[in-house]
């Protein structure tokens, strides 16, 4: 009997402990400080966001940001925004969930439709880069990469890109129209492996694209290893291209830098890189935050430290 009493006491206390750990407050105090969350300077999302709100100095420097900002990765910002009531951050539109609140930008709601009809303004390009002609593991790989790049310009690829949450560039021709130019896709390629890498923001889109293209191009093997926009150049044409992490196609979720468009002073071929899609970036806050809309100027003032309190932004 005594044992049971002790045990039940322990369980009750444990449950109580769990309940108190889960509780949260419901009211939003506008006099609170704004906690500013940002990605690190290698992030393509950060470059797109800072460039988009007219704060280009902050793309590659932390010094111009408001004091006390917090650097997190994509997932970190998402989880912080579901717990930190007074935080603000930004993520790619494809990442947006119901646990957090995505703000309208200049009065336009962040929806896929608004990005497709080009009214939503805060966006960044998704780019691709391939190896130099003759620098592939085999001729089959080179031919397949060439076919893949051509596939990116078709309506079929545009469908897949839109389906995966990004926004495709306008396209008119279908893969059926151009596939006769790429005879490699008619043979069985199941022993050929293509290596894809670069930005992890593009991973979902890239995987959907290769999945569709594998079926169209003789079931080759697509090996995806996405580590960040910076590695697109490095592993495709740069210093790591001949190591075991080398890639055949690299993706970057930001414009390529000028230093990334040349190797040892020689400019890359024009057909070695290009854009495949647009992606929208959304400023996010906690669901309790009464704010619904934000302008580029507001965001710049938050990130450079002009606005320190939520009451600077929320008038009521």
């Amino acid at each position: 009997m005594k044992k049971i009493k002790g045990l039940s006491l322990v369980i009750i206390l444990a449950l109580g402990f769990m309940l108190t750990a889960c509780q949260s407050d419901e009211t939003f105090n506008t006099d609170s400080n704004i906690t500013v969350y940002t990605r690190d300077t290698t992030s393509g999302t950060r470059a797109g966001f800072m460039g988009g709100i007219g704060f280009a100095e902050a793309e590659s420097s932390d010094d111009v940001l408001v004091e006390g900002f917090v650097i997190k990765d994509n997932t970190g910002i998402m989880t912080s925004m579901s717990t930190d009531e007074y935080g603000i951050g930004y993520v790619s539109l494809a990442s947006l969930t119901d646990d957090i609140k995505g703000l309208s930008y200049e009065g336009i709601e962040p929806t896929v439709d608004n990005v497709i009809n080009n009214t939503y303004g805060l966006k960044r390009p998704f780019n691709w880069m391939v190896r130099q002609a003759g620098d592939y593991p085999s001729q089959d790989v080179e031919d397949l990469v060439e076919a893949f790049v051509a596939f990116l310009t078709t309506t079929d690829a545009a469908d897949i890109i839109n389906n995966a949450g990004a926004v495709a560039l306008p396209a008119t021709q279908t893969w059926d129209d151009i596939k006769a130019d790429y005879p490699i896709t008619n043979q069985d390629n199941s022993t050929v492996t293509l290596r894809f890498g670069g930005s992890d923001s593009i991973q979902k889109v890239a995987e959907a694209l290769t999945q569709a293209f594998v079926a169209k191009a003789g079931n080759f093997v697509a090996d995806h290893d996405h580590t960040g926009s910076g590695d697109a150049y490095k592993r495709v044409v740069g210093s790591q291209k001949d190591e075991s992490v080398g890639k055949d196609v690299g993706f970057a979720s930001r414009p390529f830098k000028e230093t990334e468009l040349e190797v040892d002073g020689t400019a890359l071929d024009m057909d070695q890189y290009g854009q495949l899609a647009w992606d929208a970036i959304v400023a996010i806050v906690h669901v309790n935050n009464p704010l619904n809309n934000v302008s580029a100027e507001d965001l710049k003032k938050i990130y450079d430290g002009t606005y320190l309190l939520w009451s600077d932004l929320i008038s009521e």
Partner: protein, 401 residues
């Protein structure tokens, strides 16, 4: 001064508090994992491949559109096209993503005999449980899976021909990762157990109490505290090149991974085995020697069987560590999730699978929690079975500890 009774009560309450705190944390972890992961937990997740196979197809010449009547039950998420004789449902796949699943195809439907536009068999047929990715038409916007089943059926009903139908098998399963984990457990134990047990026997039975052996023991104990990521670096720098040289591997592989894990496990196995050798009474040794057995016979025929349950405990701890290790494996094997597992190829264990789901954008917390449930379950089963085995073994040899 507090009187003695109050003091005692205070001490007692502190122990209660410590107990409820530990239990609370444990319940919170299990609760979190179950709340998040339970809805994705099903047998399909365990039996399915990670990569889905995609097919592209168009219609056979001479197909007939008709009023295909059906008597299937239609629930609120399902939409049926009489014209094409196909029912589609909004559903979530094994990873919790929204997909459109085929729930019914009429037997005379033109979608039953499709031309394969890819390489392979010439005809395909759309069957139940396939996921439709997109349907493209001539001169009209395509129907995409992200817009939902109702939208797709409406667009389909408005058209009389299909330019391209793209569908896939169910993907996202963790079968490959489970097999990888089992391979890793087996291989690592093959590497680690003989060396670990051997080292423990040396230290406890043969080693003289001199400075060298004391230093050896201290070094082995220090190994326990080295973070596993450092072992991972060592695996990448030493074991990966060795296996590339000796086998057909081209990068990180299962063998280099298990070698790395074996090194991580050595101190655990040595420590636990040594502890169990220590508690074997000296009387056994003297009795065996007195009967004329040699030192080696004594160690392997008398001492080792008595220490069996300790070695079993060491094995259990080792397996737990293998299942849970991720940092070292990220370096020593790589992170690509595979369905066909080869010893000389890279692959992902269950823990690395979680890691890979969490580094996705956005992180897949639900699926990670589901895999966590499976890992917890595996550890529980191991725990219980090892207890049963060692109990039976001890009864057989009449050894009690």
């Amino acid at each position: 001064m507090l009187n003695r009774k109050v003091k005692e009560r205070l001490y007692k309450f502190t122990t209660y508090g410590a107990a409820f705190f530990s239990l609370g944390v444990l319940l919170m972890i299990i609760g979190f994992v179950f709340i998040n992961g339970f809805k994705l937990l099903n047998i399909d997740l365990i039996t399915h491949n990670y990569t889905a196979v995609t097919y592209i197809s168009d219609l056979n010449d001479g197909f007939v559109l008709n009023e295909y009547q059906s008597n299937i039950e239609i629930d609120e998420n399902t939409y049926y096209s009489q014209k094409w004789g196909v029912a589609l449902t909004d559903d979530t796949d094994l990873q919790g993503k929204n997909v459109i699943v085929v729930t019914y195809v009429h037997e005379d439907s033109p979608l039953n005999t499709l031309n394969n536009k890819g390489v392979g068999s010439l005809t395909l047929s759309l069957r139940k449980d396939y996921e439709i990715i997109r349907i493209a038409f001539d001169g009209a916007a395509s129907a995409l899976s992200s817009r939902g089943a109702q939208n797709m059926i409406n667009l389909l009903d408005a058209q009389d021909n299909i330019r391209e139908l793209e569908f896939q098998t169910t993907g996202g399963g963790i079968r490959g990762s489970i097999i990888t984990t089992i391979y890793l457990i087996g291989l690592t134990l093959i590497f680690a157990l003989p060396i670990g047990v051997g080292a423990a026997i040396y230290l406890n039975e043969y080693a003289k109490n001199n400075r060298f052996n004391n230093m050896l023991r201290t070094f082995i104990e220090t190994l326990t505290g080295v973070p596993s990521i450092i072992y991972g670096l060592m695996g990448l720098a030493i074991f990966v090149p060795i296996t590339i040289k000796l086998t057909s591997a081209t990068g990180g592989n299962l063998i280099s991974g298990s070698m790395t894990l074996a090194v991580i496990l050595l101190p655990i196995i040595i420590r636990t085995t040594e502890e169990s050798l220590k508690v074997v009474p000296d009387d056994y040794r003297y009795a065996s020697l007195a009967l004329g057995a040699s030192k080696t016979q004594t160690v392997f025929k008398v001492i080792l069987p008595s220490a069996f349950s300790g070695i079993l405990t060491a094995t259990l701890l080792a397996i737990g560590r293998i299942i849970g290790e991720s940092a070292a494996l990220v370096f020593a094997i790589g992170t690509s999730i595979k369905d066909d597992i080869y010893l000389t190829d890279k692959s992902a264990s269950l823990a690395v699978h979680i890691w890979s789901m969490m580094t996705d954008e956005p992180a897949n917390i639900e699926l990670s929690s589901t895999i966590a449930i499976i890992i917890l379950f595996m550890v529980l089963v191991l725990n219980i079975s090892v207890k049963l085995i060692s109990k039976r073994f001890m009864r057989k040899y009449g050894v009690t500890q």
